[in-house]
Amino acid sequence: MKKSVFQRIICLILCVTTLFSVVVVGASAGVNKPETTAASLKEMQQLVGTTTYAEYLETIPESKEGLTTIVIDNSTVTGSAVKVSESTECQNSMMEKPDAWAQFGDNAENSLYLPSTGEATWSVVIPESAAGRYYIRITYFNCETSESSISSIERKLFINGEIPFAEAGHLNLTKYWKYETLLSSTSKASSEKDFYDVEYYTERGGENPGYFKKVVKIEDGIETVEVYQIHQDINGNSMAPDITQLSKWGVYYCQDTTGYYHDYFSFYLESGYRTITLAAERDPVIVKSIELVPADDEASTLRSYNDVLAEYKANGYETAKDGEITHIQAEFPDFVSDSSVAATNDNTSASTFPSVSNAQLYNVIGENSYNTVGQWAAYKFTVNSTGLYKLGMRYKQDALQGMYICRTVKLAGGKYGLSDGTPTAPFEEAYDAQFNYDKAWQSTFVGDYIYLDKDGNEVDITGYRVNSDGEYTDLDGNVVDIERRERPFEFYFEEGVEYTLYLECSLGSLKDLIRRVQNSLDKINSHYLRILQLTGNDPDEYRDYDFYGIMPEVVRGLLEEAIELEAVKQEFETLCGTTGSHITTLHTIALLLNTMGEEYGDAIAANMTTLKSYLGTLGTWINNSKRSSMIVDSISICPADKDEKVLPRGDAGFFRSIGFELSSFFYSFFTEYDQMGLTTIPDEDTVTIDVWLATGRDQSQIWRTMIDAKGSFTENTGVAVTLKLVTGGTLLPSILSGKGPDVYIGLGSTDVINYAIRKAVYGVSGNDPYLDGIKINPNTGAPASALDRDAVSANELFSNNYFTYCKEVKNGDNIEKVYTTSKTYKGEECADGKLTFKSLTYDEVIADNFVPAAMDTVILRNKCYGIPQTMSFAMMFYRMDVLANLGQEVPETWGELLSLLPVLQTNNMSIGLTYGSALNFMIYQMGGNMWKFTDNPDYAGAKIGLDTNVAKEAFDYVCRLYSDYSFPVTFDAANRFRTGEMPLIIGDYATIYNQLVVYATEIAGMWEFTSLPGYKNEQTGYYNYDSLAGIGATVILNGCDNLLAAWQFLQWQTSESVQSNYGNRMVALIGPSAKYESANVKALKNMSWTASEYEAIELQMNHLSSIVNYPGSYIIARYTEFAFLAAVNDGADAVEALSGYIDAINDEIERKRIEFDLPVLEEGQLEPPTTVTQ
């Protein structure tokens, strides 16, 4: 059987050609590999494999502490850091704030500016003898530059290129925030003796209504009076004060943000050459120095409270006999850690100070905005007599039934705190000030609980339990005589010294228990996924899966977790001295796990669905437990011998409460919610525009505040705005009846075009022929009568600049502001006053701010009918832990996605893709278009493009994903993503992000999002990974009588700074789940996305298409869905099913075009005509 030479040659040639083609194909694919922001498999595996801090501590030698403080030389830095003195970015923004620059002093030379992206690496050589445990101390300056956001400074720490433990990946350097409530500050010489007094009062009506804090301080013969004010609107409701970042030097010890550890992180550094890297996650920062502090530093080893008491005794400290009680109203913090820690209104009790039943005064702090571990509010105070004091607090903790929540009490000033001003907890127990659950308001002293036996000796409570009657028992259930008693903390304060009290959210004594539940959840989750891989998401309860045979460790694991959860539950009860529905949740879950683990796991299959929902419950449980929500009304500093009677009353008396409730009820009929935040009632002459929006009340109030804010729209333009919150469908009938608004915020792009073709909205691009009929004064932009000979068409407004000048004119006693607008620029200041607003042209408004795809959706026949406000588009979310466990990369192309699919499916996982959006974006990814191409604007949108080959191919491709590749058609994306059944989901980025942030906290940090997978064009070899933009726009409605005012509002509202301010306020008010998808590309950059998140969004934003709206568009989605369902349900041929509807779609479009007098194609004409040059 010898092969002939000829055969061999043929063989060789074949081999070579095959090889070559492989190489060639490989090369071409490699060249045009799409860019991506997704994490690589290695990164994901690193993330999953990282140890926790607790595990890390076990691996390092405990006894060995660092030798001396080592200051790392800033000149060793490599990476993105630049010297402050060399960073123009930094200097420019500093120059704007002279006080910040002054603080900076000589430090500019040797400090480093770390921008909000990139990494900076320091290197240091640790001497042989100095190896050991160190804290890392960073001296930083909280600077505000154009890269700053409202979130905290976030960095990842690498030592020698590796994250030492998971928690070091999230370092939060606190920013200091201050509310702009200072109204006035006066100083004068005084002969009185040193004195300190704080007084709070409200003033209604009059010149300057509001809620005030007055601080009087006499020191060294100088009397200082500071008055702080929270402004009120015309109805007496408090308005959120502005908040600013304090440019301030701070000292940061690397520490935990999860709340599970309250010591600073100690890092074990071996001798030799070491590098320390800070990788930017969010926000820029200026770093003066990084120091390694030996871990035996006294700051870390805290004494116990008993030792502190003994010391008081030894020093002869006694209660401050002549001490006065200082009440601090908690809604006036001096600094806060986070822009969301804000005063708010609570009208649930008549004894909250101040409270009125007919308005919403800011009278408390807390609840949803001040509950995340690490957030704090700081209060300054001084006492008038040296001695021991207790802290009283009036608060309401009705969040966690049967559980207490904790605050850390930190102090600075006097002998408290570090020498650099960093506050510290004065003793170990101060990390654990406990606040019990009660539905009503409480007024108690800040402290913890101790356990006393019948002889009054303190006992250790571990090992005891609580029975259903709330009595302590030993392990056998015998009642023991142990009393749980409050122990208020006493603090030593000196007369005249200014102290600062920090109340920081923490997990206190519950931290270990909650961490154990977290660990338990992680384990149960992985057991769940293991089981799921065997059974699929719908296990057959009658089938014998032989769980114990296949995965004995999982069955045993379930039992172990049952025992663990039960143990944790009991320890919780012991600590809280009671039980409640919140703690019982753990018991319920333990019971289920027990049932599933018993009998060799026979009941696993039957209980999988329940387990799935319980996993969610447990996640929510942890989330709630870590969120220590309470509302604080006031803090009282009172001498240690006083009892609780001196504190403000917890709950109001019966009759007072009834009276308060009744009057609230009565006033609720007269409250005008539309006017919430309105500061002036526009008079007859003021130009007023009606603005409607159909969002939530929070959103509308933010707009209200922003419009009326100092130096904002109304003040700059003189245009008053009436803002109305309406329900979605109101706009159409209101236009019909002629009662419509002048401006509407957030009209969907389909409606914009629908209204535009019916002449219900005005074009804003300066070429709307309909506006020719509306005449304006060419110089002032004001409406003019048609008889006015100089009047010009209103289109001029959109192609010219108009300048608004404001002059203050004295009119009797009042100062009136007079606004003049003109087309000519008269300089920054002129006879007409100061230039306060420049009305931009249409081109200037849209330049660089919006992506072309966004503009396309609001443009019809070259005329633009609205300015985009929100922009949504689909992106891909992926579970890093699941993919890392499977050893799979994040797919970047559809090809990769489909080759990942079998791996997922063998593990009973799937991919979440909504067919509606896939059907559309696939056409664009494949290079097609929803409409037949024509460059003749008259014929654009005259024929549907679904019968082109590209579109047919795209449609078929998507249908096959569902019919051949079994993508689920209907699914609950967030839920399946959370359990890991769908490690990849594709959907609107902000919606899914917001949902996951609050809903799936247990997988926080385990997921990311990136751009859509790309589709490879076989001819060009390029990948296209376009997503489709969905636009909500702000429009001017037909009937608007002052077009200039409306146009000014439109450009103000969609401008970069206003949009980012709005987005940031949303996050501040509602929390991280209120991310706002602004259409303004530049604005998005300044919102609180992390650097990597923004990078992903930015990349996708550069790859956006949109389906342009034309008359009759609505019919397309309907028929494509019909065709899709026919293909998926009945296995019909996708292309054939689609082709069956093409005529129906074209007919409808043609009918609509005739209705609006648009040219239609002639009978038999298949392609729309292109421009004919004549």
Binding site: N754, V969, F1122, K1152
Partner: protein, 315 residues
């Protein structure tokens, strides 16, 4: 003096014109009219006027935002001759009405009859059970969970467990299932007000009539039902019938909530949906009015027929 008696004597009906007579009568009963006025005004403004208005609008091309143009009857011509989907909607509506109308009506009647036989305490409990679905608003959404297209939906999960199917069925997005499912849901929610009025009707019947009938020679319960019970409660029957018709023709919201709008391949597209489609989505109020007028005519004629049929009850 001879004329005095004449002016004082009552005017006879034959002596004056009809209009004048009516006016006279209205003046005499002005208190009654006065008391009727509030309702009557509201009724005219919110019911009669809109009906008349939509009849007028059906002859125009009103689009909700611009002044309408007069079109004559071209909307109707298009509706009947050039709108396939309208014909499909008519077909669906008729199938729907023909099944749910009579079935729900009979079902209400029969169940009311059975329940009426129960002891009073039990009766009120059972009444509540049957009536509950229609008072609890959007409770029909439970069917959405039951027949969810997700593989976790109850029906899908059960069928997959039993090995009957391997892929989830998209119940409310599959043209084959949509109509039957909607009919079932409609029947389930249909035991509403009509059913209550039937129960009330049964209870108002004078017991002595049954005794008298027994003496007169009624042989069985069916005869009792047909000759005594039903004729006595004719007003309730009429009320129930009118409700059944309006419900079965106007059954739109439930389909929307379950199947989305429009239902797949127009499988459960009724005239009501067609109306919403043109009125709400396409801003063609003129055309939508034309549809409404047709629906109005169909409903009205059904009413007349039923009235005729009901008058035959007990004969």
């Amino acid at each position: 003096m001879s004329q005095t008696p004449e002016t004082n004597r009552p005017v006879k009906r034959s002596e004056v014109s009809k209009l004048r007579w009516t006016w006279q009568e209205m003046k005499n009963n002005k208190t009654a009219y006065f008391m009727l006025a509030p309702f009557f005004l509201l009724f005219i403004i919110f019911t009669i006027l809109p009906v008349l208005l939509s009849m007028i609008l059906s002859l125009t091309d009103f689009n909700m935002l611009e002044m309408p143009n007069w079109l004559g009857i071209s909307n109707f011509i298009r509706l009947f001759l050039n709108d396939d989907i309208f014909l499909l909607a008519c077909q669906n509506t008729l199938i729907f009405a023909a099944i749910t109308g009579p079935v729900s009506y009979l079902l209400s009647l029969l169940i009311a009859w059975f329940i009426n036989e129960l002891p009073p305490k039990l009766r009120s409990v059972v009444t509540l059970i049957f009536y509950a679905p229609s008072i609890s608003g959007q409770v029909y959404l439970i069917w959405k969970t039951l027949f969810s297209s997700d593989s976790y939906g109850w029906a899908n999960a059960t069928l997959m467990d039993l090995g009957i199917i391997s892929e989830p069925i998209l119940w409310f997005q599959n043209a084959d299932y949509v109509m039957p499912l909607c009919i079932v849901v409609a029947l389930w929610t249909s035991l509403g007000t009509a059913f209550l009025s039937f129960i009330a009707g049964f209870q108002t019947i004078d017991r002595s009539m049954y005794e008298a009938a027994a003496v007169d020679g009624i042989k069985n319960r069916w005869q009792e039902l047909w000759y005594i019970t039903l004729p006595t409660m004719r007003p309730q029957l009429m009320f129930g019938a009118v409700l059944a018709i309006t419900n079965s023709f106007g059954f739109g919201a439930v389909v929307d909530a379950l199947c989305g709008f429009p239902s797949v391949d127009y499988a459960a597209h009724t005239i009501m949906h067609h109306l919403n489609d043109y009125g709400g989505q396409r801003y063609e109020i003129g055309y939508a009015s034309a549809i409404a007028v047709v629906l109005f005519v169909i409903m009205y004629s059904c009413n007349v027929i039923i009235k005729k049929a009901l008058s035959k009850v007990g004969e």
